[in-house]
Structure formats: structure tokens, C-alpha cells
Amino acid sequence: MQDDPKPVILKATNIKKSFHIPLEVKILDGVDLAVCRGDTVAIMGRSGEGKSTLLQILGTLEKACNGKLEIANQEVRSFNKPKIRNKHLAFVFQSFHLLEDFTTLENILMPARIARKSTSKGSAAYNHGLELLDLVGLSDRAHFRTKQLSGGEKQRVAIARALCNDPDIILADEPSGNLDKKNADTIHTLLLDFARKNNKALIVVTHDPSLADLCDQQYRLEDGKLVAL
């Protein structure tokens, strides 16, 4: 990986994490990972092995007990976490996690609003939101409430939302875990195509070998360490 000419966008060094419940349980025990722009990375592993925890640490949502995390050449510290999340990262969750009080388009534009960009009709962000809706094939659902959408549609909206602020890294946690095969395939294609076409890094935590196979790199989390497959 060191020989890779593509720039490293995420670099995790010696990430350790343990929980005290109440005895200490080591989840991650020195994880090293470097992801470059355009890389698609799948992380697999048994349930409870710590895949999601690792993804959350990489996504700055969870704090590691030890180790160093750099995203877009910035070391992650507590003061710059929200900005890094807003600018460089995007999440796609298994259970979609859309904001139910808002419409489809409003959900998609939320990261832009958090970044204090104008999202009024006709603004650049608004038009970008419409393009993303078009990309995920939901142009006709722009003003639907999210609860009126099917599971597959919800995840497509979640992906569109993830792409709103043009992030460098997309972190997906079992993105098709709640979907049927057909919808799952659509989601996989969407994610991978987008990442490759736009030179974005994609890190997917999944149980699904078919999704993992589609990725350039596969890792398995075993005994708190990442093992390349």
C-alpha cells in the first residue's frame, strides 16, 4: 500500500479500543489502516468483533483509547471532529437514519445546512441536491416525507445525503443489511460506482461477501486486529 501513488486520505495507526462492562474487554488491539482516494475497502468479521466500533472510530464518532487518526492530512482532535465529519466524511447506516420530520430533499440538504450553505431554491446546494436525487433515481420523491418511502428508497436517500457535501470518505455500516437482494445490489452499485467515478474512498463494514468481493481491498477483523484477505 505504501507504493500506492494515490494520496492517503485516511490513516489510522495503532488504534486500540476497550470497553469496561465492567471488566475490560479489548475490542481493537492496534489496528493500522491507510486508505487512499478511490480505494474501496471492505471490513468483514464476526458479529461483536468490533467492526462497527472501528468504523465509528474511523468516522470520528467514537474515541479510540489509543492510537492516532489522520483524515485529509489532519490529525483528528476533539475540537475539529465536527468540521472533519461535515467536510470529509459521510455515513451510510444499516437502518438508514433519515430525519423523519423532514422531506427527502431536506434530508439530502441537511449536511449543506449544517455547513451553513444556502439551501434555498435555486442555490448551488439546492441544485446539487436535486442532481443527487436524480442520481439515486428519486427525483419524483423530492418532497415526500421519509416515512412514505420504501426501505430501498430510504437507503438511496441516505446515500444521496452522504454525498451532499462531496465528502472524501464514505463510511458504510452494513448498508444493505436491511434490504432484499435486488435493492442491496442497487445500493452496492450506487456506492461503488460513485466512489470509483469520483475518486472517493469507501470503507464498508459488511457481512455480505458479495459486497466485499466488489471492493478493491478486503480485511477481516480478528482478535482486535485487521487482517488483509
Binding site: 465509528q56 464518532l61 465529519r85 447506516f93 437514519h97 420530520d101 449536511p111 445546512r113 449544517i114
Partner: protein
């Protein structure tokens, strides 16, 4: 601002979050209720305080300047007492102001001053300082107070005796008999200030009863003999009266009024009551409207009067010719629209002989013709405004004038308590005071008559405070011992904006100091007067107390918001996690929930304010309704006046708005902090 837009979305009621919606609604309603209550209460009390303050200082002014002991002991004041130029008489402030000479003492004419004589206070040029004139100059130089005027006032004491003469026998038109009563009252006599703007609100309008009294009194000579005045004089007085008064309606006396037969139309039928003495018809009573059966007395037979045939048809069908000698009596208290026949005044020997053209209906039968005033009473009349009259208090624009009458003396303005004791405009009497003579103390009398009434407000001596022309107060003051002059003479500085009182006081004190006359004057604002201090302090401390209570109520009302927001935060924990994952800072999350609290507070305030405005607009109707329901007045007019103030107090509005929004914002702090401390990883993993 994304925090606000998210907060507003969260506050939209949704079925899915029924409990949150219901609690939010209740919280908003409770706040609205509290805001409504506070605004209405404070607006009314604030208005009352304003009205009371205005009433308190109606007779004085927002700022009052009174001479100090130093003034009365000064050369400037005392020198008049030893100067021939001043007739060896001390001068009032008014006289000092009018006097062309500052120092009347003439070394060649006047005796040498006594040994213990005060030093003259002279300016740089060696001239005696004209303290009063300098004071007026200082007043004229006050800046930033529009409409400021200054007038000196005098107060003295005297004994007012009013001779209340009322016509006793209203049945007989030809004989005048009178009931007499004396109303005696030790009174404070204040100098009447024709420019006092409070007079416009304080003076009570001339009532119809007053008019009847003035008319009745015009027939009597000025002395107490109750003799009729000579005809020429009477006509003169009647002209004066009718020049100022247009009578529109007269009322029949309560015992009925004899209808002149010439007024009977050619035809028509009337239901009448026949009063018999044995078999002799004594009189016929005509009700204004046909009486229902239940109201007809059983011992008075009803008949129908056919005017054309002059016959009475009784209930049993019997008919009687109506003899000319039997009087036709129109029922009591029946109103007759009339118009004065001006030429009748010059023919009248008696006020009762003044004639009117009357056009009226009795039981839909029209009557028309001339009627003499007789015992009819004025019930509706128009008193000409801006027409100077010697009968009562008049005004031209904002300048009021107390009348004087060459025969009757000086017109005086009485506090309304006299009216409650039975006095009316037109009543005559005198003010007596005592002057020391060489051998004894002699009673002096100044004839006066009642020229009007005013509402003295709520000052303690208000009920005894009679306003009279300054000549009269000066005269009485001059006869009094000089020791008690101190509180009874001074300068009222008037202006409309009471909030400027302190600034006026400061400017005056500064100017007096610069002129070196500060030791001669005591400058007080209306909050410092002896008779206002306690009351205004009480009102102010009550307001503070109520503000405190209001603040507590607002806090209790807003604490509802805390529980609602805690539920909302729990409800929205996933969304908090999602927003955090998208880069929202913990401060943003706290702001969202802070806004939720603030928006609710604001909504409650706005609703409460709107309802309060509507309530205040319809306050009278509301109070009337409550009074009807509970059976007695909610607000006693003695204390609160006839109408409660109903202007929204902006002070109250600002207080409530600020307190509510601030408290609800504070109420949002706990839940907002809780929300901001939630760790997104924990939230999202648990889902």
C-alpha cells in the same frame, strides 16, 4: 439558520409524538395564560397608578417650588413690612413678581430697620437680588421639557357656608315655598389657576339638576331673604341663562303635570285614569303610554277619553261629559321635547313663566303648542362651550375662568364631595375669616356662589379643597398670622411628561445655585410631596412586589417547558446522533433545543399578548359581565373611577416578553445540555 429550522420542525405537532405535542401545547397555553394575566393586570394597575398620580397632582404640579425659612427671614421678604412703598405689607410671591421695585425701602421716608435685621443679599453690582424674578428666569431657561409653565399658588383657610335653597312644593305652580339648609365646612382655599391643564379632566360637567337650580335661584335676591328679585333683574339673569343653555327636553314633575287644554288636538282617543271623589270626577290622569292591565290600580277606574267629543267612556260603557274644571294630568316623569320662545323672557315676571314650544306624544296622539316652564324640570339641555358666563366655570381653549357676579360675589369651584352633600351649581353662601382689629377679632365675609365642581382626586385634603380667585386667597392670607405662610405660597411648575420631573428639579437646583438663591427655595417633585409620598411609595412597592410574583409565576409556567424538552430530547436522540454524524457541533444541538424553549415562550407570549389586547379593548364589557354575575361591582368606582384604564402598558409588555423569553431560554438549558452531551456513537450503536 439550520438550528432554528430544525427547532421549528420539532415543534410542529405530530400524531407520532402525541405526548410531546400535548405537553408543548399545554406549556404554550399556560405561558399564554400567565402572560395574558400579567399584561392585563399590570396594564390596569399601571394605568390606575398613572390616573391616581395625575389626580394626586391635579391641584399642584409635577414640580413645586416653595420658599424656605431662609426666604421668610430674608431682607428681601421682610423689607416690605417696613417700607411705605409697600404699604408696610408683606408681599406674596405673586405680588413680588408683579412689583416694579426690588427694594422698596426708602432711607429718607422709612424708619430705620430694627436691630436684628437680616443682611440684604446683593449681587456683584451691589443690587438687591430679586429672588422671585430670578426664580422665574431660571424656570424659563429649563430645556427639553415641552409645554412647561409656571404659576404661583396660594393656599389659605376659611369657613365656607353655603345656603342650600330648594323649592319644596312642586305641586302648586303659583306659590314658591322653599326648604332651606346650611352647609358649613372649614375649607382650604386654593388659588384658582386658570392655566392648570388638569382642570380639563377634573372639572365635572354641569348637570341638568344644576341647571334647574341655577334657574330657580335666578328668581331670588342675592341676600338670604328668599324674596323674588325685581323683574328687570330677573329678565337679565334669564337672558344670561338662556344665552348659555339650550333646553331640548323638559320633564313633568313626579306627581304629574296639568296639561293646558289648548294643547289638545282636534281628535284622538286616550286611555285615562279617572279619580273620583264620591260621585264627583276629581281629575283625569293621562299615562304617556297605554297601561297594561296589571299596572292599573283597582280603585281607579279606567276610561277612554274621546277628544273630539270631549267625553269619557267608562269600562261599563257609561259615558260622561268631561267638565272644563277637571284638570287633565299628564303622568309624572314624562319627557316633553321643547324649544324656547325667546321673546317670552321679556314678558316673564317669574322664571316659571318662560314659555316653550312643545311637541310631544301621549299614547301616539300628538300634542303641540306653547307651554310655560312652570314646574317642569330640565332633563336635556346643551350648555354652550367656550361662552364666557357669570353663571359657572367656563373655558376658552385650555384657559379656564372662574366667574364673578357684581351681586352674588365670587364664583368658587368645589370638590365633588360637596355635590354629594347636596350642593348644586348656583348655590350661594359666603367664606368667612377672622381679622384682628384693635380691640377684638372680627369676622369678615366674602360672598360666593358655586360655579362648578371638580374631582380633587385622592389627595387627603381633597374633600375640603375649594378653589377661588387669587384676589380672594391673597386677601384672606393677608389677614392671617405670618407664621403659617410657609406652606401656603409657592410656584407650581407644570408640564405633561411626568418622567421629566427629576430633570426639571435638577435643572432648577443647578440654576438656583448658580444665581446664589438656592437657600431660599425648596424644590420638590410630585413624588416628594407630603401628601403623595406615602401613597406613591406604596404604589411603587406594590408594583415591585407584583413584579416579583409575576416573575415567579412566569418561572413556574416556563418550567413546564423543561419537562417537555426533556421528553423531546429523548424522543429525538437518534436524530441528535444523525445530526452529529453529519457534523453538527454539540453547541448546535444545544442551540436547537434552546430555540425550542424560546420559540415556545415566544409563542405563548404572543398569544397571551394578543388575547390581553383584546381583553383590554373589551374590559368594560367583561367587568360589567362579572359584576352582573356576582351581583355587585367588581371595582368600586370610588377607588377605581368610572372606567378602568385599558391601555396596554408597554412597560408590562416589555417585562413579560423579556421575562418569558429569557426564562424559557433558561428552561431549555438543562435539556439542551443533556442533548449536547449525548455521544453519537452510543446513540447510533444502540439503534
Amino acid at each position: 439558520m439550520f438550528e432554528l429550522s430544525v427547532a421549528l420542525k420539532y415543534l410542529l405537532p405530530r400524531w407520532r409524538q402525541l405526548s410531546v405535542s400535548i405537553i408543548s401545547l399545554i406549556s404554550v397555553l399556560v405561558i399564554a395564560l400567565v402572560v395574558w394575566l400579567i399584561i392585563v393586570f399590570f396594564s390596569v394597575t399601571h394605568g390606575l397608578e398613572r390616573v391616581w398620580t395625575q389626580k394626586l397632582i391635579a391641584l399642584t404640579a409635577p414640580v413645586r417650588i416653595t420658599p424656605t425659612e431662609a426666604y421668610y427671614n430674608s431682607y428681601y421678604y421682610l423689607v416690605d413690612g417696613i417700607s411705605a412703598n409697600s404699604d408696610y405689607t408683606l408681599k406674596t410671591l405673586h405680588e413680588k413678581f408683579e412689583s416694579p421695585q426690588t427694594d422698596p425701602y426708602d432711607i429718607y421716608v422709612d424708619e430705620e430697620p430694627p436691630l436684628e435685621w437680616p443682611e440684604a443679599d446683593r449681587d456683584g453690582n451691589g443690587e438687591l437680588k430679586d429672588i422671585v424674578k430670578k426664580t422665574y428666569e431660571a424656570i424659563n431657561q429649563i430645556q427639553g421639557v415641552p409645554g412647561l409653565t409656571a404659576h404661583d399658588f396660594e393656599m389659605t383657610m376659611g369657613n365656607l357656608k353655603l345656603h342650600l335653597v330648594r323649592e319644596a312644593n312642586l305641586d302648586n305652580e303659583l306659590i314658591h315655598t322653599y326648604d332651606q339648609q346650611m352647609l358649613s365646612q372649614g375649607a382650604y382655599l386654593g388659588s384658582f389657576d386658570s392655566e392648570n391643564p388638569s382642570l380639563a379632566q377634573a372639572t365635572l360637567p354641569i348637570s341638568e339638576e344644576d341647571l334647574n337650580n341655577v334657574l330657580a335661584m335666578s328668581q331670588l335676591t342675592a341676600d338670604e331673604s328668599l324674596k323674588p328679585v325685581e323683574t328687570e333683574r330677573l329678565r337679565d339673569r334669564l337672558h344670561k341663562f338662556f344665552n348659555s343653555v339650550t333646553i331640548n327636553q323638559l320633564k313633568t314633575p313626579s306627581k304629574g303635570w296639568v296639561l293646558p287644554r289648548r294643547l289638545l288636538p282636534k281628535k284622538g282617543k286616550l286611555q285615562v285614569l279617572t279619580v273620583w271623589e264620591g260621585k264627583q270626577l276629581n281629575r283625569v290622569v293621562i299615562p304617556g303610554a297605554p297601561l297594561p292591565k296589571s299596572e292599573i290600580p283597582s280603585d281607579v277606574p279606567v276610561a277612554q277619553l274621546n277628544i273630539a267629543t270631549n267625553t269619557l267612556t267608562m269600562g261599563d260603557g257609561a259615558t260622561h261629559k268631561l267638565p272644563k274644571s277637571v284638570p287633565l294630568i299628564v303622568q309624572g316623569n314624562w319627557t316633553l321635547p321643547v324649544k324656547l320662545m325667546t321673546n317670552s323672557i321679556d314678558q316673564a315676571q317669574d322664571a316659571n313663566q318662560v314659555r316653550f314650544n312643545a311637541t310631544f306624544n301621549l299614547q301616539r296622539v300628538s300634542f303641540e303648542g306653547e307651554i310655560p316652564l312652570g314646574k317642569l324640570q330640565i332633563v336635556q339641555a346643551k350648555v354652550a362651550k367656550n361662552t364666557k358666563s357669570s353663571l359657572w366655570l367656563t373655558h376658552e381653549g385650555t384657559t379656564y375662568s372662574l366667574p364673578t357676579d357684581p351681586e352674588l360675589g365670587d364664583g368658587i369651584l368645589l370638590p365633588k364631595s360637596f355635590r354629594d352633600s347636596g350642593a348644586l351649581v348656583g348655590d350661594r353662601g359666603y367664606v368667612s375669616y377672622y381679622t384682628p382689629t384693635a380691640s377684638s377679632v372680627q369676622e369678615q365675609r366674602i360672598p360666593v356662589y358655586v360655579a362648578g365642581f371638580y374631582d380633587p382626586g385622592i389627595i387627603p385634603i381633597g374633600g375640603k379643597f375649594v378653589l377661588a380667585n387669587q384676589e380672594m386667597t391673597s386677601l384672606i392670607r393677608a389677614s392671617h398670622n405670618q407664621e403659617d405662610t410657609q406652606l401656603s405660597n409657592g410656584i407650581n411648575v407644570r408640564f405633561t411628561d411626568l418622567s421629566k420631573a427629576e430633570s426639571v428639579k435638577e435643572q432648577l437646583e443647578k440654576a438656583f445655585l448658580a444665581d446664589g438663591i438656592d437657600q431660599y427655595w425648596k424644590v420638590e417633585t410630585y413624588r416628594e410631596y407630603d401628601f403623595t409620598k406615602d401613597l406613591l411609595q406604596q404604589l411603587s412597592s406594590e408594583r415591585n412586589l407584583w413584579s416579583l410574583i409575576a416573575a415567579v409565576i412566569i418561572i413556574v409556567a416556563c418550567s413546564n417547558i423543561i419537562s417537555m424538552l426533556i421528553i423531546l430530547v429523548n424522543d429525538k436522540r437518534v436524530e441528535i446522533g444523525i445530526l452529529r454524524s453529519m457534523g453538527a457541533t454539540s453547541r448546535s444541538i444545544a442551540t436547537i433545543f434552546g430555540f425550542c424553549g424560546m420559540v415556545m415562550g415566544l409563542m405563548g407570549s404572543v398569544i397571551g399578548t394578543l388575547v390581553a389586547v383584546v381583553t383590554l379593548r373589551n374590559l368594560k364589557g367583561l367587568i360589567d359581565f362579572i359584576s352582573r354575575v356576582q351581583g355587585y361591582e367588581v371595582f368600586n368606582p370610588v377607588f377605581y373611577g368610572n372606567t378602568l384604564p385599558n391601555e396596554v402598558s408597554f412597560e408590562a409588555l416589555a417585562f413579560v416578553m423579556a421575562a418569558t423569553v429569557l426564562t424559557s431560554l433558561l428552561a431549555g438549558i438543562v435539556p439542551a445540555t443533556k442533548a449536547s452531551m449525548m455521544r453519537p456513537s452510543t446513540i447510533l450503536r444502540s439503534e
